[in-house]
Symmetry: C2
Subunit: 458 residues, 2 copies
Amino acid sequence: MARIPYKIYLSEDEMPKRWYNLKAVMKELPTPFIHPATLKPCTAEDLHPVFCKELVDQEFNTTDQYIDIPEEITEYYKTYRPSPLVRAYSLEKMLDTPAEIYYKFEGTNTSGSHKLNSAAAQVYYAKKQGLTSLTTETGAGQWGTALSMACAYFNIPLKVYMVKISSQQKPYRKAVIETYGGKVIPSPSDTTEIGRKILAENPGTGGSLGCAISEAMEVALKTENCRYVLGSVLDHVLLHQSIIGEETRIACEKYDINPDILIGCVGGGSNFGGLIAPFVGDKIAGKNNMRIIAVEPASCPTLTRGKYAFDFGDTGKMTPLIRMYTLGSGFIPSPNHSGGLRYHGMSPIVSKLYHDGYFEARAEEQSKIFDAATMFSRSEGILPAPESSHALKVAIDEALRCKESGEKKTILFGLTGTGYFDLAAYMSYNDGTMTDYIPSDTDLEKGFASLPEVQVRF
Amino acid sequence: MARIPYKIYLSEDEMPKRWYNLKAVMKELPTPFIHPATLKPCTAEDLHPVFCKELVDQEFNTTDQYIDIPEEITEYYKTYRPSPLVRAYSLEKMLDTPAEIYYKFEGTNTSGSHKLNSAAAQVYYAKKQGLTSLTTETGAGQWGTALSMACAYFNIPLKVYMVKISSQQKPYRKAVIETYGGKVIPSPSDTTEIGRKILAENPGTGGSLGCAISEAMEVALKTENCRYVLGSVLDHVLLHQSIIGEETRIACEKYDINPDILIGCVGGGSNFGGLIAPFVGDKIAGKNNMRIIAVEPASCPTLTRGKYAFDFGDTGKMTPLIRMYTLGSGFIPSPNHSGGLRYHGMSPIVSKLYHDGYFEARAEEQSKIFDAATMFSRSEGILPAPESSHALKVAIDEALRCKESGEKKTILFGLTGTGYFDLAAYMSYNDGTMTDYIPSDTDLEKGFASLPEVQVRF
C-alpha cells in the first residue's frame, strides 16, 4: 500500500452524515439530571425554559445510536471540515520511536478549536425554533469565539458572559468575538441578580466560569425567545462532537489505521467524548480492546482525584444536580494556563464510562505539558493549545515507551486546537517563570465540602 | 459535473514538483542589480558573501522555466501543504452575486501566511551548503515566525532583527519566534555598527524594516558561515512562492475553473508574484487574457504613485541598486496596520511586469479594507490578515460589479494569511478609532528625494 500521507483529508462526500450517540450503546446509562427542588429526575419540560427544544430531545435520547446531521449544519461544517487526520512523521523522527503517531487536528478554524462543532448545531436549532437571541459564557474565549462565528453565519444575536479576568487578560479574544458580532459582557456584571450579588460580596473578584454560567442562564430565563447554550459537559454537546470521532474512524478505515492507544485531553469532556465515541462504542460491544487515556491538568484533577457524586454544574447552583466526577462546585482551580480544562466537573457520559472502567485517566503538570508542546511545535510546526498539549504529552510518553520496548504501536490523539491566544503562557514558559501547582488534600477537601447534601439520599 | 466542494485540497501526489520561473518566460527581463560602487551589474560572486550560493544561482537563472523542488523541501511542504483553494459559497450568498469567488488560502500553517514557502527553501539550501547560522529581519513578524519554524525543522540557529516598535507592540509574535528557537533582537540594536549609528542619531527611534535589514545583513557579512535571508522582493523568493500559483493552476485544471480576474495584495510582491506566476506566464505567451489586479495600501502606494527607478532595498543603503517601483528608501510609511505591505519598494519582476502592462494596480484605504475583512470573516469564518484583506476588498468590489451587470465572472484571489496577530487593528476598527492616511504629493516628494543620484546615468 502507498505511504500514508502527512495529512488525510476526507472528501466532502466521505464526511459523516450522522452523529454517534454513545448513550444508545452504553450498557448502563449515566444517572439522569436531578431537579434540586423535587429531587426527582428532570423532565424535558424542566429544561425547555433554558435550552432549545431539539437539544433537550437530544439530551434525552438514549435509543438512537445514530442521529442524522441536518443538511444546513452539514453545509456549515463544510466551511471548515473535514479536519485533517495527521501522521506525525516529523515528531516520530524527532523521538526516534518505532511507534506510529497520528493526531486529529481540530484547530484549523478561526475559533481555534473543536468548539465550533457544537456551536454550529446549537445555533442552527435555535434559529429553527425561531429564537431571537442566545446567551452563553466563556472562560478562555474559545467557546465564545466559536459561538459568535456560528451566530454570525446563522444571523442571530449573542451575549457572551466572559470571565472578567479573562476578558482583561485576553482583550484579543474579546476583539475576535466582537468582530463576529457577539456582545461581550465581563462577568460578574451588574446586568444580572446573581452578578450583582457576587459583586456585592466580592467587589474585586475576577470572576469564574461557574459564575458566568449562572449569569448567562439568568438572562436566558428572563428574556423572551432567548435560550442559553453551553459548550461542553452536556450529552448533546458530546453528541455533536462525535463528528470528530466519526471522521477519525472513517479516515482510519480508509487507510487501514488501527490505533492501539487513543488519547484525549479532558476539561468538561466534550472533545474527549466526541473523539472516543465510535471507538469506545466498539469497545463496549467487545469489538476492540483499545487503550483509551484521558489526560487532565494536575491542578484540576477531576477524574484522578475527584468524587463520583451529585453536584451542581455552576457556582451559582442554578443547574440541575448532575452525577459526575467532580471536585465540588466550590473548588477554585489554580490559575494555570489551560483555561479550557479548569472546570470542577466532568461530562456525565465521560464520568460514567470512566466509572465503569472503559478508559484510564492521567493528571499532568503544566511545565511538562509545555516541554511537550515546544517539542511538538518544533517538529510538527503547529503551535498547540495548552489544553491540547495534555494529550500530546501522553502520546509522546507512550511513543517513548515504545522506543524502549521496541513495540510498533499505533498511537492516535486529539489535538483540539491552536495556542495562538495562549502566548502569555508560552512567554512564561520560555522565560522560565512558569510554575506548577498541585492541590493538597486539604485544598480538595474544601472543594468537596461544597458538594450538596443531597448526596446521601442516593 | 458534481458541485465544486467548499475546499479543494490536492493530494500529496498532485502537488507541484517544480517551481515556476517567471524570468524564463518574460519577453523582457528586469534590469539586473547594479553594484553601487562600480555601477556595473552585480555578479553572482558579489552576492555570495550575503546569500546562500544556490539561492544566488536561482536569482540569476533566466533560462529554466521550471526548477525542480528538492525532495527534502517537498517533504517539508507536505507538513503544511497543499493549501486549500476555497470556493467562497457563503460570501457569494452574502453578496448575492452571480460571480463565482475562489481564494487560495495560505494561512493554515502556524506562521499564518505564505512566508513559510520561501523560508523552507532558503533554510534547506543553507543547511545543504553547511552554513551554521542565519540572520534575517522581520517587521510584523510573519517572516520571522516562518523562518524560525523552518530553522527548527532543519535545525540551524537563527537571529531575527525585529523592528523595535513591532517587538514591543507584538510581544506574542516574539514569543512564537522564540518558542521555535529563534533569537529575537529588537532593532536598531547595539549589536551592529549601523544599529549603533542609528541609535546615536535617533535614540528614541522605534526602528524600521529598512534598518532591520541593514543590521541583519551586517551580521551575516561579519559572521563566519552565516548568511542573510530575505522573505520578499528578490527573484528567488518569488520563485519559491510560485508553489502557490502552481497549486492553484493544478486545482483549477482539475475542477475546470477558469478565472476571469486574478487578485493579490502587494507589499514586497512575493505572494503576488507567486500566485500569478503560471497565469501571467500564459498571458505573456498569449494563451489567456486574464485580468490581473495588484492591491496595495493607499498609505504606501508603491505601484500606483511610485517611480520606476533605481533604488536601495534598505534604509542603510547596503543593498545593490534595484530597478523597481519605489517611493524612495527614505519614504516612511504611516503606521497603518498592514505591516507586511509597508515597504517602499517592490519586487523587480513584479515591477517589470507592471511596467510592461501585464496587470493593473489599485490602492485601497485601511478602513475600507476592514469593512471587507469583517464581512468576509462573518461569512467565510476565516479572520483574514489586514494585508490579505486588500485582495479580498477588491474581489468583493468586482463581485458587486458583477451583481450590477449580471455577469457570472470567476474571481480568484490570494488570501495570504490570518489576522490572529492583528487584533489590535481589529479592536481599533471595532471601536471606531481607526483612521485612514493618504500621503500628500509633498510627502511623496520627500521620499523621492532619497532616491540615489545614479538614476540619471541610466
